[in-house]
Structures are given as C-alpha cells and as structure tokens.
Symmetry: C2
Subunit: 758 residues, 2 copies
C-alpha cells in the first residue's frame, strides 16, 4: 500500500459537498451568533450596554465583559500566554476585536441585535508596525501578562517589556565576532506583508453544554489544545470536554489553537443550548494571519564564496495578542540562517505587539519570511561577488553529518540533490519562450533552496480496533483538512496489517476517544502519526499472531501474516484469516496502541539544542517573464523539488507540492493585507488579490526525491512554499535587473523599480 | 466509589429533555420516512406500484421490493435467521408489516405520498395462536429459512417444519420416567398474553451514507449486532459501518437487534441524504413485543413435599419472523424449572410462527412466562397437599453447590435468604388493613421466588483513555437507556483508579471507537462491562505505576496509588499526582484495555451444559386487597428482594427494582395486546392499559442482599419482575380462593372467576 497511488478516500464527498463540515452542522435548537467588533484600533472601553439588545425578539443571550464578573469562567485564553479576551474586557486593541456577541434563534435576529448594543470608547494612541511599537514612548498594548499555558516551559518570558511579546536568540560560534573573518559583509533588509490563509471553510464551531459536559465540534487543527484551553477556561476535567473535528476545509495553520470555540462555549453555557459561531469572510481577515516581518540580514563572506558569519535581526508583527508568536519567532529566527554551513551565527528574533489583529501559524511558519531574506540576498551576494548563484549555494549547502546553527548534527540531508534537481528546469528547451515577444517581455531564471524544521519535541499517539471481520479502525487525532492525511494513514495501517485500504476506517479527531496528538501542522502527520499508527497496528498484529498460535497450537515464531491470512511459514494452506482468528478469540474486537515521541528543545540563551527531529528540504527553480511596459510578472516555468524519504501516496504528495507552490506564487505576486491606520482596507475576496489557476506556470514540475534504502517518511506539506517567493524575485532580478526586497512583487512595484532603475 | 449513592450523572438532562435522544437528531438535509403497512394478516403481494407516489412534491424516494431487484443489497435481516424483509417481498405475514416506505423532505409529504402507493393483496389463510399454527393443515408462514447469522452456531435448525420456528429441549435425570417416583402429579396450563415494552422513546434511527461509509445513530441496545447486520446487508467491511447510540429513552429488550435501522440505511443509500425513521406509538405496537406463551406444567411430588420430576411443554408465539425467539425459548424452557432441586426434568419449548407481529426480547426474557406457571402451581400444590407455600418452597429451593436442571453446579446461591427476606413483609403490622372495609374487600398474601440466567457465553470489552490532567475516559459499548449503566461504570472506573467520579467521562456506544460488547440486556452490564472496565483501568494503572517508577527512579513494587497520587509505600510525601506522571511521560494520553469473557452453552439434545455465568435470584411478597364486588385487585404492600452481590450504586439498584416491580404489577393486573383476527385492537396508549403510579403499593419495600465477603456484582435489572405476577395471583387466591391461570388479573377476569366460584 505504501507508495501506491491512492485517490483521496473522501475526494468525491469533498467535491460534491456531502461532507459534514462544521459549517453544515446544526443540532436542533441551535443558536446563531453575531459578533460586535471594535471600530477603533486602541481604546479604553468606557461602557458596553447590552440591556436593550438582550430584550429583542429571538435573542437568547448577549455576551459582554459584564458576564464574567463573579463568574468562574476564565475570560482570557491563548496557547502560550493567556492574554486574549473572549470579548474585550478593559480595552480594545485592534479594529475587529470582539466587544460583544449575540446568540439568537437565527442569524438575522442576532445581527439586528448588534445595532442595539451601546459601546463607548475612549481612544488611545495606537501603533501598527513593530518599529513604531518599539520606539521610545510608544503606547503599551499590555501592562503585563504571565498566565502561561502548560507545555510551554521552554518559552521564557524573555525580552518582554515595552511592546515586546517575546524574543528568541541564538549564538553560535563566535557570534558577531565571526564577522572579523569575513572578506566582504553584506547587509540588507527584507520585508514580508501580513497575508491571510483564505481557507475555503471559514472558522466555525458548534458548542453544546450538557450539564457540566461540554462538546464542541470545530474545524480546528489542534483538537487537544482546544480541549485543554476549554477545560481550563471552564474549570472542567479534560474528560468533560469533548472536541470533535469533522473534515476540515483547509487549515494552512490558520485553524491552530482556540479561535471561535471559547465564544461558542460561553454562549452555550449561558443559554443551555447548542451555539454555533460561523465567521464571515470579512471576519476571517481579522481572526488570524501570517506575521508581517522585517528581517535585517548581515552576511560575512570569504573571498572564496564561503559564508562565515550571519546576523539575523528579525521583527515579527504579532498583532494585539500573543497566540503562537513565541514559537514562531524561534522557527523564523533559526530558520533565517538557511540551509548553509555557517560557523558564526547571531540571531535576535522578536515578536512585537501592535494594534492589528493577532498573527499566528501560517503554512511555512516563519521560514517564508526568513528564506525570503536569505535566498534573495544569496543572489545579491552572488552577483556582487561574481559567482553563479547556484554554484555559490552548492559551495555552502549543508551536507550529511554537518552541524546546523542550533548545534545539532544533521542526518538525512539532501540539499545539493534537491537544488540540482530543481534547477534541471533550466535545461534548454524545457520552458517555451515568451509567446508574443515585442521586446517588452524579458525572461529570467531564479532558484531558492530552504531548510525547515518540524515541531520538536512532539508526541503523536494512535489506537486501532480490529473487528471480527478483519477490518480495522484507526483512531487518530490527526485532522484531515483536505491534505489527505486520513488516506495516507489508511495506507500505512493497511500496509502494516497486510490488508487492502478498503478494510480500513479512520476515525477522529475526537478527544474523547482518539489518543493525543500535538497538532496537525508542521508537515508532521504522515511522519509522526504514521509512525504511531504503524506501531499500533504492530501491537494488534502481535496479539493476533499470539492468538493464532494458541488456536493453531504452534509456536508464534513459526507464524507469518500476509494478505490477511496467518499461516505457518512455508505452509500457506495451514492458514486462517484474520477474521477467523479474531472471531475464535471470542474477544469481539482487539485493541492496539502506538505512539511516536520526539525529544528536543533549544537553550533559551544560546538557541543551541535539538530543533527538529528531521529537516524539511526543498528547492524551487522558476523561469519568469517580466513585461517591462506593465511590470507584470508571469511565472512561465517552475520546478519544485523536495526530499520526501518514502512517499506514501504519490497523488497526495504531488498535490501538497502543487498547493504549496500555488500559495508561494500568490504571495510572491499578489497577496498583502492592507491597513489604513489599523483599519483593514482589503478584507474581502473582491479586494484581496490571490493567485488563480491562470497564474500557475504552464510548465509546472514536481519532483519527490525518495530514498529507497530508508523507510523514514519526511513531511512535505509546506517545504516548497518558502522557496517560491525568492526564486521568483531572483528570476525577476535576472530578467530585468531590479531587486525587490519587499513582497509582493506586484506589477506596480516592479514597474516603480524599473522606473527607478532607468 | 463502589457502594456509594450516586445520583445518575445524566438525571437532570434526562428530566429536562436536554439529552440528544435519537428522536431529536436531525442533520441538515434529513429526509423523513412514512411507512405503508400491510392491512391484512397474510397475503401474497400481487402488486406494489409506487410510480405515482415517487413523483409527488417533496418525495425523494419510495422503497418497495422492486428496489432490491438487481441490487447488491440483501433485503432480509434477523439476528438468528435472516427471514425478515425490510419491506415485504413476496408476501405479507402480519397486519402492520412494512410494504413500502417513502422518504421525503418532511413527514407530512411522506405520509401524504403513502396514499398514492397502490398495493394489491391476494389474501391467504392466517393463524394467530401457536396451537392453531401447529394444527394439521395450518397455513405455512415460511417455506424454508436457513440463512443463519454468525454467532448462533449453537442454535440448530431443530424442530423446524410446519410453523415451528425453533425448539429447545432439555433432558435431565430420567426425564419423564422420573414421574414414576412421584406420589402425586400436578398438571396445569398457564398463559401469558403478548405485551408491549412501551418505552418512553419509540424506535428511531438516522442513517447517513457518505460514499461507502454508513453512519447510523439509533436507540438500539445492541450496537454491534446492528453494525454487523448492516455490514452484511450492504456487503461492507465492519470498519465502514458506524453505529452510534445516543442516550436511549428506555429499552426493556424492545430495542435489541436491527429494527428500523435497515430501512433508514437503504433509503439513505438510495437518496445520498441522511434519512430518519421515527416510529409512531401505534407503529411501536407492531414492531416488537413480549412472547405470548402457553405453558403446560406437570410436576411430580413426593408426599414429604419434595419435587421429584417436572415436565415443561412451552409454546411461545414468535409472530411472523424469527427475531431472537430461538434464544428466548431456551431461557423460557430451562427457566420454567424454577429455583428448585428437581432430579428429573423434561422440557420441550417451542417458538411457533403466527400471523402476528414478531415477538422479541422483553425484560424477564422468557422467565416471566415460566415463573408465572411454576410459582402459581407451587401455591396450588401447597394448597392441595396441605403445605405452607413458603415452607414448601424452602424445602425445595436450590442451595449453594446444588446442580441445576442444566447440569451445572451453582455458586453464589441465596434463594432461601432472598425468599425469607421478601416474606418479612408478612410480619404483623407492616401493611395497613383495607381502608374502607365494608366486607367486600378481602386481604390476601402471596409470594414467589425465581431464578434467571444471564446470557452466557458472552463478551464485553472496554478501553480507557487517561488524560494528562489525570481525568479518564471510559470507552464502552454499553448503552445507557436510563438504567444508569454509565453512572455505575463511572463509579467502577473511579474506584479502580482511586479518583472521584467527577474525573470520569463515559463515551459510547460508537462501534467505530468503543470496543465490542455483546448486548446491553440480560441484566449484564454492571457485572460484565463493569469487570471489563475494571480490567482496563488496572491496565492503565499498571502503566502509570511503571512510568512513575521510571520517573522517580524507584522499584515499581515500592509504589502505591491512592487518592489520585502515586507515592512510595509509607512515604506519602514522596508522591506525585497522576496528572504529573502522565504529563512527564510525554505520551499525552495513556490507553488501557480490558475484557470480560464468559464460557458456556447447552447441548442441543439434552440442554445440559453451562447456561449462566451467575444466576439472578429474586423473590417478591405481596399483600393485596380484592374487592369481591368489582373484582378489582389492589396491591397494598410489596417487598422485593434480590441477591445483588456487591451493590455499586444503591440509588440505581433500588430504581431498577422499582421499575421491575412496576412492570410486574402492570402485567399482573392490566397489560395485554388484543387482536381481532390479527388486527391490533388496542395499539394506542388510550386503549392499552398500563399501571400508573397510583397502582403502586403504598408499602413498597426493596431489599438488596449483599455479600460483604465477595465483590462480585450480580445483575438485577430484571430479577424482581417475574415473581411479581405469581406473587399477586397467589395473594388473590389467598384472599378470595380463586386461581387465575391466565394473565392479566383484570377486574373483569377476577369477577368472572368469583362468579364461577359461587
């Protein structure tokens, strides 16, 4: 089953809309929610009066800060520091922040009631960029916060003060002193704008309190984190909070950690009815986003093209609340070193509060911002020093057994192979010339190669249930959000048991019954949960062989299991089916358990330690046409290469790369969230520009590099996103000689640069 | 926790109606079903034409036999022999049998469409009593049937032919020759009418096919049996059929095995939409029922009061289809021997097909019918031979180590104690005299004692999931149908882990995730599933101690777990909490598994073997007033005693007895399903007489006899039902000297008997 092309098991149901997405759930008696949101970026909340609204027909409850007075419910939540209110308490900190929420029998009644809620703001000065937020005299967003959630002991409260949310630092070798060894030093600043995940399915949750038992159906990527957040919020044992995740319509990091679930749950607690929160597209734009980042990169080069020192100063715009910023700036910090052998490294990476919506996890997880910087600069250095950009990379790329910036020894390293593979795109004749070349269209080539970690330490556990007919249920808390995780896990389970995929059913996530999993993100599910599932199947397989040995009165070491039958080695006729063995055991069902736990962590002062159980390695080569008359960039050819270890499902794997590249092209050319003094200016799909299918290259190649001698599975859900943007920018520079250091490469920006150049 | 009074965990939600009963479920897009039912008791189905109906507005599908032509769906189902069609195929066999079914967007549209379905019957002669059905020349209901479901290898096709559905026989000692040792022989016939379960919640199911994956929410007592029936029907692996059982509003046996689920599932398969079937009360009356029974009892007595021989000839009216009759007539057969030491036993017990709705499991499971016979006859023998009825019983009651009719040696036997305890009701002054005694009210006393098996062999399995905060989920396929099973299992789990009940969450049944359980019936859940849960908790407890030993660097044998903390024996300060150990293990959750499997079975020719893992023992004493002017019987006092082993929850246990006695009084005095040539004559709650609260005795005592030296839990959900009817009949005979051998003891029947006596 491993390595076979398997159509996604739920493909037909996803496409036909038959899947019970959370947005389609509506238990009888469900109340619907409309949210009153702040119209100002920063203010003291003088008055919130919901007395008139709560009397309106159809309105079951209006939640304001007053409802927490004297309540045992904890009003603040957050995955690391609990600093985010369900509805604003003393202050609002961004335009769009929930101030009050109405639960009513239908959505129109809820929306109508919003108009009757009276809110009085006393506006405060606001800041919108990390630079402004760090300036002397900047208004403070948070006086103090240290209510830390468990599981984040490694996140120290370092760097805090002013508007610093958190700081990550790394010191390797001689740090800044390493620059003394350099012949040339290059220093540039690069920036990436905030962008939105734009999942097809918006955030939605249906919460239902029955007595002191809370059930929440939600499209989260982190069911256990949401369960634990709600248990803490309502002071319940974890066994009384059930988080069920139906199939999800896209996550991309945007659905990690509690988002709309606390609001739905509090309103259900108040009304004793199921409560559904379902965000509009406009609300999506103020709910989560990619971190805006400003990265200053200083690189010390030896004359021979060796990188000897690198300094990273990264400012990540966290927005108003912490969310997962302290983790992300770590990855964004050490991830900005790149896949290069550099002896001396000095990193300061900051998450900074501003009066904008909170930023959180986003496909690429900080690495996009860093690689945008270092892979752009790599070409700038190559040009300045007269090297071929591919050769310059090759000279410095990390090799098997090398030491990374974190001090850990690397294994399973294939950077040169990945980069070489990607750049085969440049072989003559692969990408057709510009269609109508009136001289205004210039062709250019660029490439980029990146390194990305997977969350470490981490834990995934799985259970399996073998039925009396020999079919098997896999119980997993891995979320299927369209990436095909459940299909891949089915293949892994089927392979481990020696049966067909059709015998497998995958269940979960459902925190009442499916074992712990840290998160469906970080490109980790196939590798981590796959290993846990395999162990669980092996557990049940051992039991099966033991039972068969008893039943057949032979020694278990004489038995083998193949094609759903257990027989004495070399005597297939002696066999009996799995179903026969389970039935004869009279146990009804057999249970197996497995887990996959990785160890790691970085020292808070030096950033030294183990950052990743294995490393994601990807490269992209791009050929672009730049129309110098309009500034328009067209990606004509693109080859994405990734080291995959063992590919479980080639269809899935290919689609993951397709998706990553699409995201990358979209961010390279179009995407940016625009604000006007904190007010969102393009919060709708008619105003927010995204790549469409027509923007994908006509030559679009995906290469999955496997290792036949190694059955280790490498995650690949994000790897080919970060290199797309610098590869395209490098190709633009190659085509027309302008270097754009600020994403996206819109036609206007390219045209401006061209005009500046003239 | 064991033995503590624990309010049912879902009591408040049940009473306030907040529980998501199946009848309250309605996923978006749900279709509703109306069923066209046969208007004749027996006919060849000449024509079913749904062409007009299927064109009506709102109608999504009309199911008739034609839909199975060329379909891979198997149209017949049944727990033992698959002889019951989803909708009638070639014939109808009872009034009320489904002939066609309409799925429409709302129930009114579905009901309206029924009128447009054209059905042509060719009527056939019909039979309604087992006696008529066995008579020469009786019309045959089934030509042949031998499509046996797995798990019933012990049910041989014996006795079939004519209208015999199945036969059970038992031969012990010298059988009929044993009567040669008797000084006196008593022979009487007794009958019990069919009665209805009248659960508060009717049968309901919501089925939903997504691709080749079927999910059914249903109020069944046997989720795994329903899953297997549906998997077979649709030719799916068990891993693709998910049966979820929400809290159930009463079962009493009536919700065992597939009932409305196949119909809902087929219609969902046809329409690709969720389909809900929800029976009306009138439909309930033709869906399941207690077996009507005619039992001829011949008892050979020694002059000293010793019973030496007993012959049982039992005819159980199976109705039109097999359902579970072959199992029930076994229990009804050996159960008719009673709790007495009898050396020579000869039993022939028949299930017979008739043109009435099928009979199935009913609280008491065949034992009510048998004990109605033997405990009535016991008093008749005592009177005829001049013995005190209690003393006659005492002389013959089975004792520890005795051999039952099945040849098995009995253990945990407390019959004399149970009977003695019940009859303490008769101590002077316990029951007040008749309120207005104008001479027409006569007081009488009666008692009865019964033996009942629990289904054997059987299997229950459980899993537990220990969370990182130390709380625990119990995964069980035991159905909570108001009997408080989940509360009892919570107590057992809490006790085994050494934590409070508040830390426990119970999940299930959900065949995708909760392990196999044979059935929630036969008074078995607390004992069987309780043992499985305990073993599963012990499994996780062992892992917990091993982890703690590693973490604390001590030997595991030096550790103890108490009050949620693990510490070195004798050094409580050394302890750490369960939560700390799980968290430090980094496994996220720990899984434990347990099972409880009993062995047994009876020889098909002799009925010898193991019938029951342990035996239910109950006695009832009753004082009644009989108004000789009206025939009205009023139960004034009643004491029910049961051997309980260890009582897990005294509140629950007491309520189980309350409920059993209420059922018994209702069946003793009021209940009977009446038919007029096969047409139901009282299929509504305005016509079908049931006991109300006012019919319960003012002195109503329940005694749970425990064994402090034994932690074995004995089932007690049914034990005190069967003795109620004969105890009351015996009291009536004691009061006014009339012996009524046919239930119920309606005022009319008592008055008739009194007039006959005059």
């Amino acid at each position: 089953m491993i390595g076979q092309r398997q159509t996604l098991l739920d493909a037909r149901d996803r496409v036909t809309g038959r899947i019970p997405y959370t947005i389609n759930l509506e238990p009888p008696g469900t109340l619907h929610v409309a949210i009153l949101r702040s119209t100002v970026p920063h203010a003291r909340l003088v008055r919130v009066d919901a007395s008139a609204a709560s009397q309106l027909p159809g309105v079951a409850a209006v939640l304001t800060r007053d409802d927490f007075a004297g309540s045992s419910i904890r009003p603040l939540f957050g995955p690391v520091f609990r600093d985010q209110p369900i509805v604003a308490m003393d202050r609002v900190r961004y335009v769009g922040e929930p101030v009050a929420a109405v639960a009513a029998t239908d959505l129109r009644a809820a929306e109508a009631a919003l108009e009757s809620i009276e809110v009085e703001y006393e506006e405060l000065p606001a800041v919108f960029t990390p630079q402004d937020a760090l300036a002397a005299g900047a208004p403070l967003l948070h006086e103090s916060f240290d209510d830390r959630a468990p599981g984040y002991a490694d996140i120290v409260l370092q760097g805090q003060g002013g508007n610093v949310c958190n700081k990550f630092q790394l010191r390797k070798g001689d740090g800044l002193a390493g620059f003394e060894l350099a012949d040339e030093i290059f220093e540039h600043e690069f920036s990436s704008p905030p962008v939105q995940h734009v999942s097809m399915e918006p955030h939605a949750a249906v919460a239902s309190f029955e007595g002191d038992y809370l059930t929440v159906h939600t499209c989260t990527q982190t069911p256990y984190a949401v369960r634990d957040a709600l248990a803490y919020m309502f002071r319940l044992p974890a066994s009384h909070v059930r988080v069920v995740v139906p199939p999800v319509g896209g996550g991309f990091g945007g659905k990690t950690y509690a988002k709309v679930e606390p609001l739905a749950a509090v309103l259900s607690k108040m009304t004793h009815r199921p409560v559904k929160v379902h965000l509009t597209r406009e609300e999506e734009f103020v709910t989560n986003r990619k971190h805006q980042a400003f990265i200053k990169l200083r690189t010390g080069m030896r004359r021979d093209g060796t990188i000897v020192a690198r300094e990273v100063q990264a400012l990540f715009n966290a927005g108003a609340y912490t969310d997962i910023s302290p983790r992300l700036i770590k990855n964004g910090g050490y991830g900005a070193v790149g896949p290069y052998r550099i002896s001396h490294v000095h990193i300061d990476s900051y998450a900074v509060f501003t009066n904008l919506p909170s930023a959180g996890a986003f496909r690429g997880y900080g690495v996009s911002q860093g690689s945008w910087a270092y892979e752009s600069q790599m070409d700038m250095i190559a040009e300045a020093m007269g090297f071929d950009p591919i050769e310059l990379r090759m000279r410095n790329l990390l090799l098997e057994g090398d030491t990374f910036a974190t001090g850990e020894t690397l294994h399973g390293i294939r950077f040169p192979e990945v980069l070489r593979d990607a750049t085969t795109l440049f072989e003559a004749g692969r990408v057709p010339p510009p269609a109508e070349d009136d001289g205004s269209v210039k062709r250019g080539r660029g490439c980029a190669v990146i390194i990305k970690s997977t969350i470490t330490p981490s834990t995934s556990a799985a259970s399996v249930k073998l039925n009396s007919d020999g079919s098997l249920q896999v119980l997993t808390s891995t979320v299927d959000m369209g990436q095909g995780a459940h299909t891949a896990l089915s293949q892994i389970a089927a392979s481990a048991l020696g049966v067909g995929v059709g015998s497998i059913g995958v269940v979960g996530p459902d925190t009442d019954v499916t074992p712990f999993d840290l998160t469906t993100s970080s490109s980790r599910s196939t590798a981590a949960m796959g290993a846990a599932v395999r162990e669980a199947v092996f557990d049940v397989r051992r039991q099966l062989l033991d039972l068969a040995a008893q039943q057949m009165e032979v020694d278990v070491t004489d038995l083998e299991l193949a094609d759903g039958r257990i027989s004495v080695v070399g005597d297939p006729a002696s066999g009996r089916s799995i179903a026969e063995v389970v039935t004869a055991s009279r146990r009804g069902t057999l249970a197996g358990n497995g887990s996959f736990v990785t160890e790691g962590g970085l020292h808070p002062e030096t950033g030294q330690g183990i950052a990743s159980e294995h490393w994601h390695q990807g490269a992209v080569a791009a050929e672009v046409d730049v129309d110098v008359a309009t500034g328009k960039v067209t990606v004509r050819g693109l080859r994405a290469s990734v080291y995959a270890g063992t590919v479980v499902n080639p269809i899935n794997a290919r689609m993951q790369i397709d998706g990553s590249v699409s995201f990358g092209i979209s961010q390279a050319l179009f995407e940016q969230l625009i604000h006007d003094e904190g007010h969102p200016a393009n919060s709708s799909l008619s105003e927010y520009a995204l790549a469409g299918l027509a923007d994908l290259p006509e030559v679009f190649e995906v290469s999955l590099i496997e290792d036949p001698d190694n059955d280790e599975m490498h995650g690949l859900g994000e790897t080919c996103l970060p290199p797309v943007m610098p590869a395209i920018a490098n190709a633009v520079a190659d085509a027309v000689g302008v270097r754009i250091r600020h994403l996206p490469l819109t036609a206007e920006r390219v045209l401006d640069a061209l005009e500046e150049q003239r």
